[in-house]
């Protein structure tokens, strides 16, 4: 990548918007995932009895089971959310930026 191309892309407002928006989204989702996981694992380390509570009177199923399964489903849903947004928003923004750059001849390397 030449210095000119770099600066053209860097100063493109659409590129700046894409990067800002996508980074914010990706980092927020990462933090949500980390928070969920560490809440779970810290509960196990400090208050395991919470997860041992029976789901309903007379049931042997503990709260921990649906919570654990929910962790797995939650991880998958988060990835789905990211892919949905990336496919429908970020990819389009990127295509626009690339088309604009191609018009200016900035992609010819």
């Amino acid at each position: 990548m030449t210095v000119q191309t770099r600066d053209i892309i860097k100063n493109n407002p659409k590129y700046q918007r894409l990067v800002r928006s996508r980074n914010r989204f990706a980092w927020s989702l990462s933090i949500v995932m980390l928070l969920a996981y560490y809440t779970f694992i810290m509960t196990i380390a400090f208050k395991p009895e919470v997860l041992a509570i029976s789901l309903s009177d007379g049931s042997v199923i503990s709260v921990g089971i649906p919570v654990g399964i929910a962790m797995i489903l939650f991880s998958f849903l988060l990835t789905g959310l990211y892919v949905y947004r990336a496919n429908n928003t970020y990819d389009l923004m990127l295509e626009e930026i690339k088309a604009e750059l191609a018009d200016k001849g900035a992609l010819d390397e």
Partner: protein, 549 residues
């Protein structure tokens, strides 16, 4: 070229298999369906290898299947890499033994994936070519970073490989009655054939086929378990609690994670270790662009999560159907230790369950799948290790990046054979935990900061990476697993089983301080190149697309 090999190989397989019938009858009668299904798998995958060999001409074909794998296929292959025999038999065995704790473990293995998707996968595809060292050395000085990454990769691959080989030897010994050494050699030779002839294309397809087989086998098993309890989870869990000698304790967190330091440390190793496993990272270069890389992780996360839910049901099913079943009881062991030990130990719980559910035929299927799983995972690992040697060390360091493809591929094939032989010879007990800790401390920290931190310099990455790597190795040696269990000392010098919290911290702090105090000319060059790298990582502009076939 491959045809005579295949014929020769089938002959060897036949000779090895027939030789066992006489030897170990008292251990387990030879399971004919298992052998037949295994033969079908081996011949099928060797045919794929033959097909792939004809399509593997360039280095790009060899390392990344020409970048022509789709997101869905790659997601399946990634899931296949992750769903090793160790995780199938190990996690269902852990559920069988400790109940809920098994679920905690699998959640730890899963939660790294969303983070890889959000932060790593697209950047990785946009920046890299064949190995993760391509990314880490994108703007830093080639030689030292490549050498460091290659060592991190080889260390991770070898540890992982040895753990798989040991497991496979024991498993095959038990399932097929094949002597341990033969089993390890058989796995080693098959894996060398897949990788040297078929490269990434064959390795990926072997992995996809195995993932389909494993997922369908596990689905059928979980379904049969649920059928047995009339599709009532209440009944499944209450019968398990009744059967298990730990009773209601299996429904809640037990001893797996007891203190917060271990909890955090294990979490870090599992989460970041995944993003530093060379054979997994390499899969991101087999797809055409960032979009497909993203889809791969989505599918992989889905398959892996589904698989872990299945293993949880399978583990509980095994408690109900295997725990006190006299057919699977290890009588000799029971007379010594009491309790209800099963033949082959807890890791065989899923295998015995398959027999309890579907007789010899289903046992045969699950055994063949377990063997196929080991083969596929060791192939992926070996390819990643061989690429670190041929692409990073040989082509980019020894030959300074000017090396013709044919030569590079030849080195890669020699490296594959060498790694295969080392893995066969080192069939000794080892720990996968160490592989994850090294992956998190050295590979992940350097890779991550090279993509996200503009002030990272070559010197910082090299010194910090080496410190992270050596801290991880040292702490594992001084920790309870090696110091107490293997070396036989009374008390561990380092009290925690999982060193990642400390070794990753050491790596990050060292990289930070050495990079910010680095005033060399190279450091300026490293920092100045960040913007261009970042633009490429965000947009894919300048990244290589798939090669046409």
């Amino acid at each position: 070229m491959s045809k005579p090999f295949i014929i020769l190989f089938l002959f060897i397989c036949g000779a090895l298999a027939s030789g066992t019938i006489k030897g170990d009858i008292e251990r387990r009668a030879l399971n004919i369906p298992a052998v037949v299904m295994f033969f079908i798998f081996v011949s099928g995958t060797l045919m794929i290898t033959y097909w792939a060999a004809k399509r593997t001409k360039t280095a790009s074909d060899f390392y990344t299947a020409g970048g022509g794998i789709t997101g869905f296929q790659n997601g399946m292959a990634i899931a296949g890499d992750y769903m090793s025999a160790a995780s199938f038999l190990g996690i269902s065995g852990l559920v069988y033994l400790a109940g809920y704790d098994g679920l905690i473990y699998s959640i730890g293995f899963l939660v790294g994936w969303p983070i890889i998707l959000f932060l790593i996968s697209e950047r990785l595809r946009n920046l890299g070519k064949y190995t993760f060292a391509d990314v880490a050395s994108f703007r830093l000085k080639q030689e030292p970073i490549r050498v460091l990454s290659a060592f991190g990769a080889i260390a991770t691959v070898l540890l992982y490989l040895i753990a798989q080989m040991v497991g496979s030897g024991k498993l095959i010994e038990l399932l097929f009655g094949l002597p341990y050494a033969y089993a390890v050699i058989l796995v080693g030779v098959l894996m060398i054939l897949y990788v040297t002839f078929g490269g990434m294309l064959a390795t990926t397809w072997v992995q996809i086929i195995k993932a389909v087989l494993l997922l369908s086998g596990a689905t059928f098993m979980a379904f049969a378990v649920l059928y047995h309890v009339d599709f009532s989870f209440e009944k499944l869990f209450s019968s398990a609690v009744e059967m298990h000698d730990r009773g209601i304790e299996i429904m809640s967190p037990g001893g797996l994670v007891s203190d917060p330091v271990s909890a955090i440390s294990l979490g870090i190793a599992l989460m970041f270790g995944t993003a530093g496993l060379p054979h997994i990272l390499m899969r991101f270069f087999t797809v055409s662009d960032a979009k497909e890389a993203r889809k791969s992780v989505f599918f992989a996360t889905g398959f892996i999560g589904y698989f872990y839910i299945l293993t949880f049901i399978i583990g509980f099913g095994a408690i109900v159907l295997v725990f006190k079943n006299p057919e699977y009881l290890d009588v000799a062991k029971q007379s010594v230790s009491g309790g209800f030990p099963i033949i082959g130990g807890k890791n065989m719980a899923a295998v015995h369950l398959s027999h309890a559910l579907g007789g010899d035929l289903f046992l045969g299927f699950i055994s063949a799948v377990a063997f196929a799983t080991i083969l596929a995972v060791v192939s992926g690992l070996t390819l990643a290790g061989a690429s670190a040697i041929s692409h990073d060390l040989y082509a980019n360091v020894v030959e300074k990046g000017v090396c013709d493809q044919a030569k590079e591929m030849r080195v890669s094939k020699i490296a594959t054979v060498a790694l295969g032989i080392i893995a066969i010879m080192l069939g000794i007990a080892f720990v996968v935990g160490l592989a994850f800790a090294i992956a998190a401390s050295s590979n992940f920290s350097v890779l991550f900061l090279s993509m996200f931190w503009s002030k990272l310099t070559t010197r910082g990455a090299v010194v910090g990476g080496i410190l992270g790597l050596s801290t991880a190795i040292l702490l594992v040696i001084l920790g309870p697993i090696v110091w107490v269990n293997i070396l036989g000392n009374a008390e561990a010098i380092f009290p925690y089983k999982y060193p990642a919290l400390f070794s990753v911290t050491v790596a990050f702090i060292a990289i930070y301080f050495i990079s910010i105090t680095d005033r060399s000319a190279r450091a300026k060059q490293d920092r100045d190149a960040f913007e261009a790298q970042d633009i490429r990582s965000q947009t894919g502009i300048g990244a290589k697309g798939p090669s046409s076939h």
